[in-house]
Amino acid sequence: MSFPWAKSYEPQHPLMKWMDEKLPIPRLIYNATGPGYPVPRNLNYFWNFGVLAGAALVIQIVTGIVLAMHYAANAGVAFDSVEHIMRDVNAGWFIRYAHMNGASMFFIVVYLHIFRGLYYGSYKAPREMVWLLGVVIFLLMMATAFMGYVLPWGQMSFWGAQVITGFFSAIPAVGEPIRVWLLGGFAPDNAALNRFFSLHYLLPFVIAGVVILHIWALHIPGSNNPTGIDVKDEQDTVPFHPYYTAKDGFGLGIFLLVFVALTFFSPNMLGHADNYIPANPLSTPAHIVPEWYFWPFYAILRAFTFNFLWIDAKLWGVIAMFASIALLFFLPWLDSSPVKSSRYRPLNRIFFWVLVADVLLLGVCGKMPAEQPWVILSQIGAAYYFAHFLVILPIISRIERPLPMPNSITEAVLAKHADKSSASATA
């Protein structure tokens, strides 16, 4: 957090001077989000999603704490207690629907945040640690969301828990004992529901802790920007406050508009009807489907249908699903191109959009039942996913010839405005 051009905090009021000597919280805030943190002046709207993810986390924690005051984590009454919240608790329906759709909003903004990082090379040096911590947050979010979905103890809660914990039984020899140990029984039941509730309450605070590290690690090199060019001097930057607080304020407004539309106008659109049926271990739903944010990974899991190299197809699927996320940890070293932004990487830009299409295709495949043509499409999609990160990206980062780049952020900004004014002059 030491940029030569960063303004330094100078308390004026005696009280603030006193505070600064004893516990310099105002100094911390000034240096983290105030004029003490200079940010590239050319960030586009895709840079709003980090703050929005933070807002989503806060919304989830606040609504979740209120829900926990009324929810009962007992397999006998959990479903009824959720309906009690929906019907008899003051504004309970609002808190519950906000929490339910808040999870979706959290994943929407985090996915946009991740793909922003992929397109503009935000995972590259010197921001590898920011990216690694981000992947940790993503994994924690997935665990938290999965356990949260089990809590209403509907049919999809129960059978989702059955399928996901079944991953562990794919491990040879020790898999089944591990699964039983994790569940506290032979199938999901009261013991599993209680520990899922306990962990669902714990993990968001772990996420909050890793978010602090994520922001800390970001503030050492400072933010990336759409050109990917490093900040060279003060004129490339603006102080975070008021410039980006104002822009994030507008972004937050749009985020909340979408959130409100989803929560109030169509709260069950992203859910599954079967989860309004109480959990029944004796009746398997026709199609067991996870929540939408897991569909691409679920498609990768199910794509492996062949016992290749003496490894069971199910184990292949589980390994591949975990590998599809774990490989993100190696991304900063898989992509060796010195150029960050795909604006100046003609090949990477093409393959980035192929990856986006591929993940969307996998998402659709994960939603659909395991029938053709979805099986073969998920197999092709999964093969491309691994090829993209492990084969294509390392190769194109070597052979690609980057486009000419501006010398500085300011030059890029001024060139853009010169283009605009000459275009309007000729028009």
Binding site: R41, N42, L43, D80, E83, M86, R87, W93, F94, Y97, V238, P242, Y243, A246, K247, G249, F250, L252, G253, I254, L257, V260, A261, T263, F264, F265, P267, N268, A273, D274, Y276, I277, A303, F304, T305, F306, A313, W316, A323, L327, F330, W333, L334, S336, E371, Q372, P373, V375, I376, Q379, I380, A382, A383, F386, A387, F389, L390, V391, P394, H417
Partner: protein, 269 residues
């Protein structure tokens, strides 16, 4: 080091997937039932859309259909008797309505199981004491609780309405294995075409005080509207609050945008 290892791992996954592609048959197992299954028919209700309201007269008729027909087999666990006040009944009417039910209780003198008159604070009593009793009375089928039925099925209210009005004779070309077995009834809107519930409604079965039509379609429509309400009694309130929040946030966003433009006015970016 990372790149060559990654390349090998990637190749491993890709070869495993190619083998899976080659060995997976491209055709699905034919499912004869699909050809006979019908899409749910749309039932327009006043509670639809972005500006919904409850048609209270219709909901009252639906409650009557539930009470006189459905409640013989189906429970309504999550709905309290007091909740029907929202359908436009007075406090006195709700009390009288509740008194009409007998709910399980304990004899205060002996501690033996007993029954007493219902109170508004009671929930709708279940028709059967437990699942075993329910199955015993219904040819081993379990009538589902109806509180959430319009949220717990794909296509919700459209499905419920279609099912109630969809009983018919099996088509002539129906394969033998899809023919209804003894005690089952053909209904193309039901997932596997044959269900244990007999056609519950017949024309003129319920007489409405307001003289509204009481053919099967009208009664099915009324009771479906009622079940939309039982599944989501806060629906209308939710939409109203939603519009207020949406309006507030629209103004907030406009002001936030203007202040953003104002603050950035001197900075090219």
């Amino acid at each position: 080091m990372v790149r060559p290892l990654g390349f090998l791992v990637g190749l491993g996954f890709i070869v495993a997937l190619l083998c899976a592609i080659v060995t997976t048959p491209l055709s699905n197992e034919p499912q004869a039932a699909h050809a006979f299954h019908k899409e749910a028919r749309h039932l327009p209700l006043s509670s639809d859309g972005l500006f919904p309201h409850w048609d209270k007269a219709k909901l009252q008729r639906g409650l009557q259909v539930y009470k006189e027909v459905c409640s013989a087999c189906h429970s309504l666990d999550h709905v309290a008797l007091r909740d029907v006040a929202e359908l436009g009944y007075t406090e006195g009417q709700v009390k009288t309505f509740a008194k009409g039910f007998q709910v399980p209780s304990i004899n205060p003198d002996t501690g033996e199981p007993a029954t007493r008159d219902g109170l508004p604070s009671d929930h709708f009593p279940a028709p059967y004491a437990n699942e075993v009793a329910a199955r015993a009375a219904n040819n081993n089928a379990l009538p589902p609780d109806l509180s959430l039925i319009t949220k717990a099925r794909e296509d919700g209210k459209d499905y419920v309405y279609s099912l109630l009005t969809g009983f018919q004779n099996p088509p002539a070309n129906l394969p033998k294995e899809l023919q209804p077995a003894t005690g089952l009834h053909y209904n193309p809107y039901f997932a596997n075409l044959n269900l244990a519930m007999a056609p519950p409604l017949t024309d003129g079965q319920v007489t409405f005080a307001d003289g509204s039509p009481n053919d099967v379609k009208a009664m099915a429509s009324d009771v479906t509207a009622f079940l939309v309400w039982t599944a989501e009694p806060k629906l209308v309130q939710r939409m109203r609050v939603g519009w207020a929040a949406f309006l507030f946030l629209s103004i907030f966003s406009i002001l936030a945008y203007l202040s953003y433009r104002n603050i950035w006015a001197d900075k090219e970016h």
